[in-house]
Amino acid sequence: MDQKTRQLESLYAQQASSWVETMSHPKPGDEQRFVAWLKESPRNVRDFMLMLSLDHALGDLDAQRVHDLESLVAKMDQRVTPLPARSAAAPGGSARRRWLPAAMAAAVLLAAGGWAWLSISRGGWQEFETATGEQRTFELADGSVVYLNTHSRVAVRLAAHARDVRLLRGEALFRVHHDTDRPFRVYTDDAVVQAVGTQFDVYRREDGTVISVLEGRVNVTPAGPDAGSEAARGPGPGEGAGTTARRTTGSRSLGASEEAQVSHAGSMNVREVNNVTDTVAWRERRLIFREQTLGEIVSEFNRYRSEPIRLQGSGVLERVYTGVFDADDADSLVQVLARDPALAVDRSGDAIVVRLRTP
């Protein structure tokens, strides 16, 4: 095991061990946090179960009682006495202390986000990204939480007077920590969304950006040419100075259960949604469709798949379905489609092709 793997393994082990401890005497809210942590990654499930098993085995530790407590106490006391010579004996000591804060930061990141990939580029931007099929949660230094959906990427910069996030790809749900002095702004090419303390989802689709508000209020400013604003171009990692957000006449305030669709051109459509929680069902890897076309349904599914489901021939895209699916389980969709006598579903391995059955 190399040094880096070792450090990582130690952090994972420490995290799993902490959860075993917490769940031994959970306080209100611990269960919820524990479940959220488990649902972040199979690795967390694995590490927790193994740690629980280890803890169980510790119940029979030193059954022969060969260890003598007194001698351990004596050894401890020796360690407590200050030994100035020790730093000479262990030259690594001070260096080790120096990387501790970095390790702690890594621990926080791991605790929150598993393998979310992180890099620090110019101007203090941090980038987080997920692979296809992967979802990650991470907590920002201001206490805000970002849930990153499949195949998505954000860049974050927390400054003294603003918190800026660029959604570079995909979809993210933001739970913004309340801070009136530091507006929280999310930029896409199409719009800038500004919040103080709230919960909202931003999804960069091929045809524009969709903003859905779960709690509180946000302010949306379109950026396309029709909106006549440069607002959403915003600051950018690796893009020089960039412009700052500017409020325009095109801005609109959105409340809970409202959803805005902003086109590339800059037009904005706002509608009330009864089931705004459907929008963020992705966090539980559920896909919910209410009378949506197969074209829409399959393109949602394909966000989670390395091998896309393909629709062949005319008339297939427009067929309308309603259903709740497991994003990881394309079989559930295939089974539903296979029941439709009008459709033929061909699979070979991971490749799935759906077409209209020819009479």
């Binding site: 070792r6 401890e21 649902k39 199979p42 193994l50 629980l52 098993s53 119940g59 030193d62 407590l69």
Partner: protein, 175 residues
């Protein structure tokens, strides 16, 4: 802080685990001791956890987790029993290895794990050893252990967490 320290040995995680011991514990014990991948199990348990309604899960996360895991281990075993043994040397070796895994009489894995834990214990700093022995071997509560070791309850808890994590890493490193 002082208020609700758990009773010595009977903590919730331990109790929930004992309810589901047996197959699951044997399965996991082998993997803790040999740093073998428990990825297949974790993947399957993870996928099923995602299907449980959050409200149900939050009410009793440990029971759900361990219940699902026990179920999956049982399914793994059934699948193995129904697999044909082909005369492919690799496959046969693999099946032999697995049959040992699932059908080992009684507690072989746990016993081995305990031996390895006893050895690993000696590699911990004295304070961590002391705390583990007081809490796990002698069954003292955290506040009793704090009194015995002259440390704060908080430190005891911290050392238990750290010691367990270190043991896990040591076990993963020593074949």
């Amino acid at each position: 802080m002082m208020s609700s320290q758990p009773e010595s040995a009977s903590n919730l995680a331990g109790t929930a685990f004992r309810e589901h011991a047996g197959e699951l514990q044997r399965f996991l014990a082998r993997r803790v001791a040999h740093a073998q991948d428990a990825d297949d199990l974790a993947q399957e348990v993870f996928a099923r956890l995602l299907r449980v309604r959050n409200a149900d899960l939050v009410r009793n996360p440990l029971s759900y987790l361990l219940g699902i895991a026990t179920h999956v281990v049982r399914e793994f075993r059934q699948r193995k029993q129904h697999e044909r043994v082909l005369f492919d040397s690799d496959l046969t070796d693999d099946l032999c290895d697995r049959s040992e895994q699932f059908e080992a009489p009684g507690m072989a894995e746990q016993l081995e794990l305990r031996e390895r834990l006893d050895k690993a214990l000696k590699q911990l700093p004295p304070a961590h050893q002391l705390v583990l022995l007081l809490v796990k071997r002698d069954g003292l509560s955290y506040s009793e252990a704090a009194g015995a070791a002259g440390l704060s309850v908080h430190t005891i808890e911290k050392y238990v967490v750290e010691a367990r994590a270190r043991l896990r890493v040591i076990l993963a490193e020593t074949p």
